[in-house]
């Protein structure tokens, strides 16, 4: 009996952030789901009273009218394709760069190597609005990249401001620190002996990395992949400032659908699509953390 009370106290101590998240994130998500399925009353009545082009379930359990109108729209599909490829390209680039930086930091362990890691972490501390604006200026017409290209006789060099390519660059810039920290921290926890043994047996640095370090550092790599992917899928500021008007990512698309077109229901359908994509990206993360917890000594 005493332990039951004690467990109750433990649960209570751990609950404030969860309660906060449940009330102001969990509950709104549940309400959002009912709204996209056509329930316009109750908690949705405030927002639905000002919305345009709503689809109502008229008392039935659900209607997929809002989903079908969004999912069949041409501009949405273009934005969906853009979101998927920009996310894939950015995550790929971030992983390659982060691995290079972290690997160099782990193997070289010189002042320059440590300095490089410090460099790569800087964007973590620059507000995203500032970073995006700076990148936009840097890669646009009149930016340093165009200016240098012009100076060396390449006037046709593309300006990447207001393009999806620019969005990829900016997403990489913003996401690099977290991936470097995650992958670097994982690499540091691998003992020298594991890598040295492979080297002594005649493996090249590349081969020893591929066959020893990569498998041993798989969990941090997966964590970096999932978090980077999720944050890019739902990103708003970067594509809003750096990206083109259309097609752009689904984040600004949802914001525009709400703020400019006054269609919150359709905007929420877009948010649900982003959420669905994010869940797909989150699956490897959950799998990896469960697996590493079950393997950890003393895991419950």
């Amino acid at each position: 009996m005493k332990t039951a009370i004690q467990r109750g106290w433990y649960f209570l101590a751990a609950s404030p952030p969860v309660v906060l998240v449940a009330v102001f994130i969990g509950f709104p998500i549940a309400v959002t789901v009912t709204y996209t399925l056509g329930h316009l009353g109750g908690a949705n009545s405030a927002i639905s009273s000002i919305a345009l082009h709503q689809v109502s379930s008229h008392g039935r359990l659900a209607t997929f009218g809002a989903y079908s109108s969004v999912l069949t729209s041409h501009s949405f599909l273009e934005d969906l394709v853009a979101t998927v490829w920009v996310t894939a390209a950015s995550v790929g680039l971030v992983l390659v760069l982060a691995w290079l930086v972290a690997l160099y930091g782990r193997l070289a362990d010189t002042r320059i190597a440590r300095l490089l890691t410090s460099f790569a972490v800087v964007p973590l501390f620059i507000p995203v609005v500032i970073g995006s604006y700076a990148i936009l200026q840097f890669w646009s017409y009149g930016g340093l990249v165009k200016t240098l290209a012009h100076a060396v006789g390449l006037p046709g060099f593309p300006a990447l401001g207001y393009t999806l390519g620019g969005v990829v660059l900016a997403e990489v810039w913003v996401s690099l620190p977290f991936a470097v920290l995650m992958i670097g921290s994982g690499l540091r926890s691998i003992p020298d002996s594991a890598f040295d043994a492979a080297r002594d047996a005649g493996a090249s640095v590349a081969r020893a990395t591929w066959t020893v370090l990569l498998p041993m550092n798989l969990v941090p790599t997966i964590i970096a992949t999932s978090f980077t992917g999720i944050s890019i899928l739902g990103s708003f500021t970067v594509p809003y400032l750096v990206g083109p008007t259309s097609p752009n990512l689904l984040g600004p698309d949802a914001a525009q659908t709400f703020q400019s077109f006054n269609e919150p229901q359709q905007a929420e359908v877009i948010a649900m699509v982003i959420f669905a994509l994010a869940i797909v990206v989150a699956v490897p993360y959950l799998w990896a953390t469960y697996r590493s917890n079950n393997n950890a000594p003393g895991a419950a």
Partner: protein
């Protein structure tokens, strides 16, 4: 060997240019008078925007607001999350994994979709356009790492150290404040700095909930980008980066030491 060193050198230079180039370019703009493409440097230099920017009352007010919200949000977040972080790390909390995953899932839902629904909720609760509403919306963005990172720090402290202190007669509270808390301090510090920056950086939710009463610096930045000359936006951006860079220098060592990375492994 030399070829490899040159290759590494070029790689480092490219990465440095990629990271710092945009920031340096922005710095130049902040001190530019006239600057036309394709000149590599401004044709004339000027400090006039550093003076002018302080003549716009709404800009000055937004600076004050940002520096009001960020510390409040950080403190509230610490009060709400730190006891929970300790409990999750040290006690057999029922449903511990589920709680951690729920926190994680809350992070995966796109913010814009959340804010639209929260707007409806805030209207009903009369929180729209209020100070408390803005604190609440900024708080939501800090909960996950304010719980995870300190929890990992608490969990990484060997219990033997606490037990040793208990053995020589220290009470529970004394052990917590003289052994546990100092050892977990780097992780807590990193989490608080990240919370401060998250609040300082938050624009989308603050825009939706706070406008027109509470326009913080990043919200102001959106209109600066479109409505003012690049010099004004650059000056403002440099100002907005100052606290971030200062805080970065404070926690750099702990962040690079793995205090942040540990928090995301969900142990």
């Amino acid at each position: 060997m030399t070829a490899r060193r040159i290759g590494v050198g070029i790689g480092i230079a490219l990465l440095a240019a990629f990271i710092f180039g945009p920031l340096l370019w922005l710095m130049l703009w902040a001190f530019a008078g006239v600057w036309h493409y394709p000149s590599l440097l401004p044709q004339s230099w000027s400090l006039s925007w550093w003076r002018q920017i302080f003549h716009y009352p709404q800009l000055v007010r937004s600076v004050g607001l940002s520096f009001t919200f960020a510390p409040i949000v950080t403190l509230v977040s610490a009060v709400v999350c730190l006891p929970a972080a300790y409990a999750l790390a040290r006690f057999p909390v029922p449903g511990r994994r589920t709680l951690l995953v729920v926190l994680f899932a809350s992070n995966a839902f796109p913010k814009i979709g959340l804010y639209i629904t929260i707007a409806g909720l805030f209207y009903a609760l009369h929180l729209m356009g209020t100070f408390f509403g803005v604190v609440l919306i900024q708080l939501l963005g800090t909960v996950v790492f304010m719980t995870w990172i300190p929890a990992a720090s608490f969990a990484s402290i060997p219990r033997a150290l606490e037990d040793a202190a208990r053995d020589v007669g220290a009470g529970r509270l004394r052990v917590f404040f003289t052994v546990t808390l100092p050892l977990a301090a780097p992780g807590i510090f990193v989490a608080m700095v990240l919370a401060f920056l998250a609040s300082f950086d938050e624009a989308q939710g603050t825009f939706l909930v706070g406008v027109p009463n509470y326009v913080t610096m990043p919200v102001q930045m959106y209109s600066l980008v479109s409505d003012y000359p690049p010099q004004a936006a650059a000056v403002f951006a440099v100002l907005l980066s100052v606290p971030s860079v200062a805080l970065m220098l404070l926690v750099r060592k702990h962040v690079l030491g793995g205090a942040l990375a540990r928090g995301f492994e969900l142990r």
